[in-house]
C-alpha cells in the first residue's frame, strides 16, 4: 500500500480504517490463514456473554435479496473460555491491528460484570457494547431500544474500565440520534452503527418461516442505505450538539466505494461483516481499495473525508 492510512480515533491509532464486524470473523483464528486480521485496522470479536451459549436451533441463516438473515442467538464460548483461550491467541496474532471485544448481557449487571472482566485485560484495546440484546428483566425489550437501559449499561461499564467504550446501537428504534445522545452522555467514546435489522423469510412451499426462531437479523448490501442514513443522521445531530464522538460505520459494506459512503456520511472507521462470507479476503480488499482511492484522488489521509457529504 505504501500510503499512510492511519486513523486516530478514541485515542488509538488504527493502521487503516477497516475493521471486521462482530460475529462475522469469529475469534480471528478460523480465518487467519486466509485473511490475517493483523493487516486490518482491527478485529471486533464475536459477542461474549458471561456464560457459554449454545445458541438458537437451526436453520440459523438464509439468503435473502442482496443479503442474509441470521438468528445465531449469541452462541459464544463464554467469558471464562474467551479470556483463557481465545484472547491470548488474538493478542499474539494481532500485530498492529486493534483488539476490540464485543460484549453483551441479559441484564445490566451482566454487561457490567463481563465488561469489567474483559476491560481489565491488557490485550484489549477497546470494548464494543452490543445493545441489540434482549433485556430479560424488562420484558425482552432490546437494551438499545430503551434510553434508560442504554444509559445504565454504558455508564455502568464506563465506570469499571479505563478503555474506550463503544456503544453499538441498533437501528430498530424511532430516533437513533436521541439514543446516540444518551449513549454519549453516559460516557460512550464512540458509536458503532448499525447492527442488523429484524426480518423474516417464509418458505411458501412449507408455509412456515425458514429460520428455526422465525425472525432473524438482516445484514448485507440490502441494509447499506439504512446504515448510511443512520450514520448521517447521528453525525448531523452531534454537530448540532457540538459533540465530537467518532462513529464506526457498519452495514452492507462490500467494496471501497461502499466504505466511502459511510466515511462521507460521518464515519471515522468502518466494519465489514457479511461480505467476509461472500469473499474471505473482502476486508483486506476494501482496505486496499480505500488506499487506492486516496492515492488517485490525491487525498493525504482518509480522515480528511469524514463527514464531507454534510457540506452539501
Amino acid at each position: 500500500m505504501g500510503l499512510n492510512q492511519t486513523v486516530r480515533c478514541m485515542g488509538l491509532s488504527f493502521q487503516n480504517p477497516v475493521l471486521v464486524a462482530s460475529g462475522t470473523f469469529g475469534y480471528g483464528d478460523e480465518c487467519y490463514d486466509i485473511m490475517p486480521f493483523s493487516s486490518l485496522g482491527g478485529l471486533v470479536t464475536k459477542t461474549i456473554t458471561a456464560a457459554r451459549r449454545e445458541g438458537n436451533p437451526p436453520p440459523r441463516i438464509v439468503e435473502t435479496d442482496a443479503g442474509m438473515l441470521n438468528s445465531i442467538g449469541l452462541a459464544n464460548v463464554g467469558l471464562e473460555c474467551f479470556l483463557a483461550e481465545k484472547l491470548p491467541w488474538i493478542a499474539q496474532h494481532a500485530g498492529l491491528a486493534k483488539v476490540i471485544v464485543n460484549i453483551a448481557g441479559f441484564s445490566v449487571d451482566e454487561f457490567v460484570e463481563v465488561g469489567a472482566a474483559v476491560g481489565s485485560r491488557p490485550e484489549v484495546d477497546a470494548l464494543e457494547i452490543n445493545l441489540g440484546c434482549p433485556n430479560v428483566r424488562a420484558g425482552y425489550i432490546h437494551f438499545g431500544a430503551d434510553p434508560e437501559s442504554v444509559r445504565r449499561v454504558i455508564s455502568g461499564v464506563r465506570k469499571k474500565v479505563n478503555l474506550p467504550v463503544i456503544a453499538k446501537l441498533t437501528p430498530n428504534v424511532t430516533d437513533i440520534a436521541s439514543l446516540a445522545e444518551v449513549a454519549i452522555d453516559a460516557g460512550a467514546d464512540a458509536l458503532s452503527l448499525i447492527n442488523t435489522l429484524p426480518g423474516m423469510k417464509i418458505d411458501v412451499a412449507e408455509r412456515r418461516p425458514v429460520l428455526g426462531m422465525g425472525f432473524g437479523g438482516l445484514s448485507g448490501p440490502a441494509i447499506r442505505p439504512v446504515g448510511v442514513a443512520c450514520v448521517y443522521k447521528v453525525c448531523q445531530h452531534m454537530q448540532r450538539m457540538d459533540a465530537q464522538v467518532p462513529i464506526i460505520g457498519i452495514g452492507g459494506i462490500s467494496c471501497g466505494t461502499d466504505a466511502l459512503e459511510y466515511i462521507l456520511a460521518g464515519a471515522s472507521l468502518v466494519q465489514v461483516g457479511t461480505a467476509s462470507f461472500v469473499h474471505p479476503q473482502a476486508p483486506g480488499n476494501i482496505a486496499r481499495e480505500l488506499a487506492e482511492y486516496c492515492e488517485t484522488e490525491g487525498i493525504g489521509n482518509i480522515s480528511d473525508l469524514v463527514g464531507l457529504a454534510h457540506q452539501h
Binding site: 462475522t24 478460523e30 439468503e63 435479496d65 462470507f277
Partner: protein, 268 residues
C-alpha cells in the same frame, strides 16, 4: 490443506438427469488435496448473478488433469444460476472445506447408501475405498424418488463396487426405498459392516434407526445445513448432536462435519 479461494472458469457443464447437472472446472491446489466428504463453496463472479451467498457442494469427482466435478440438482436461486452457466464463465470456488469420511473402515464389508443429491460424496468415497491396498467388499445403494432423476453412474462407479439402484416409482432398478435395500444387505453381513450415508435428512434418520452401535464397525453420515462462511465463523450451520446427559449440543456442520458419527446426531 488450508482452503483457498480461486476464481476459476467452468470447463464443462452437462445435464445428466432431470434437474441434475455436472459442472467441471480446474483447480489444481484443491484437486491434489481434497478428500471424500469434503466440500467447496461456489459463488458467482461479482455482477454476474443476484445470488448473494456462496453455496456448499460436495466434491463428486477429481480427474487426473486437476479437473474437479460437482454433481448438483436445481432447487432455488443458486442452483438455477449454476445450471445456466456455460463453459468459460467464471465462478468463485473456496475449498477444500470440512472433514472427510474415515477411509479406513476397518470392516470386511462396506455399505454406501446415497439418496437423491446426496450421492456425490458417496461416489468419491467408493472410488477412494476401492483403491485401498486391501479393499473391502463394497455395496452401493443409490436411491431416487423417480427414474427420471437417476444419474447414470456406470462410468463413475469403480467396477468392483456392487451397485444397486432403488426408485420409488420403480422405473429404474428396484422399486422401493434405500432403507429397504439396506436392510436386505445388512441381513447378509456375517461381520459388522461399515455404513456410510448421505441423503435427505429423513433417509439418514431412518438409516440411523436401523443400526445399533456395536453391530456396525462404523456409521458415518454426511449432513447438510444452510451455510454462509463454510469455515466456522458465522455459527450459522449447526447440527444438533447428543451432548452430556442427552442434552442437545449444536456443532458447526462446516467444521466439525459435514461427516458425523451417525449415532451422535440427534435425528428427531
Amino acid at each position: 490443506m488450508k482452503p483457498v479461494f480461486e476464481w476459476v472458469r467452468v470447463t464443462q457443464i452437462s445435464s445428466v438427469a432431470e434437474r441434475t447437472f455436472v459442472i467441471a472446472f480446474k483447480e489444481p491446489k484443491s484437486a491434489a488435496a481434497l478428500e471424500p466428504g469434503q466440500f467447496c463453496m461456489i459463488s458467482p463472479y461479482p455482477g454476474s448473478s443476484n445470488v448473494y451467498l456462496p453455496r456448499p457442494f460436495s466434491y463428486f469427482r477429481v480427474s487426473a488433469n486437476d479437473t474437479i466435478e460437482i454433481l448438483f440438482r436445481t432447487f432455488g436461486r443458486a442452483t438455477r444460476w449454476m445450471a445456466s452457466l456455460t463453459p468459460g464463465d467464471r465462478i468463485g470456488v473456496f475449498g477444500p472445506l470440512g472433514n472427510a469420511f474415515n477411509q479406513h473402515p476397518g470392516a470386511e464389508r462396506v455399505i454406501l447408501a446415497g439418496g437423491g443429491i446426496g450421492i456425490p460424496p458417496i461416489i468419491l468415497l467408493a472410488e477412494s475405498l476401492s483403491r485401498l491396498a486391501n479393499p473391502p467388499r463394497i455395496d452401493l445403494i443409490y436411491g431416487e424418488a423417480s427414474g427420471s432423476r437417476v444419474v447414470d453412474l456406470a462410468k463413475v462407479v469403480p467396477p468392483r463396487v456392487c451397485c444397486q439402484i432403488t426408485t420409488e416409482d420403480g422405473k429404474i432398478g428396484v422399486k422401493g426405498l434405500v432403507t429397504e435395500e439396506l436392510s436386505r444387505i445388512l441381513d447378509t453381513c456375517k461381520t459388522p459392516p461399515a455404513v456410510y450415508t448421505c441423503g435427505p435428512r429423513a433417509m439418514m434418520a431412518a438409516v440411523a434407526g436401523m443400526l445399533t452401535p456395536g453391530k456396525v464397525a462404523l456409521f458415518e453420515t454426511a449432513c447438510e445445513e444452510n451455510m454462509a462462511c463454510g469455515r466456522g465463523i458465522c455459527q450459522g450451520c449447526v447440527i444438533p448432536v447428543k451432548g452430556e446427559e442427552d442434552a442437545t449440543r449444536y456443532v458447526c456442520c462446516c467444521t466439525e462435519g459435514p461427516v458425523f458419527n451417525g449415532f451422535e446426531v440427534k435425528w428427531d
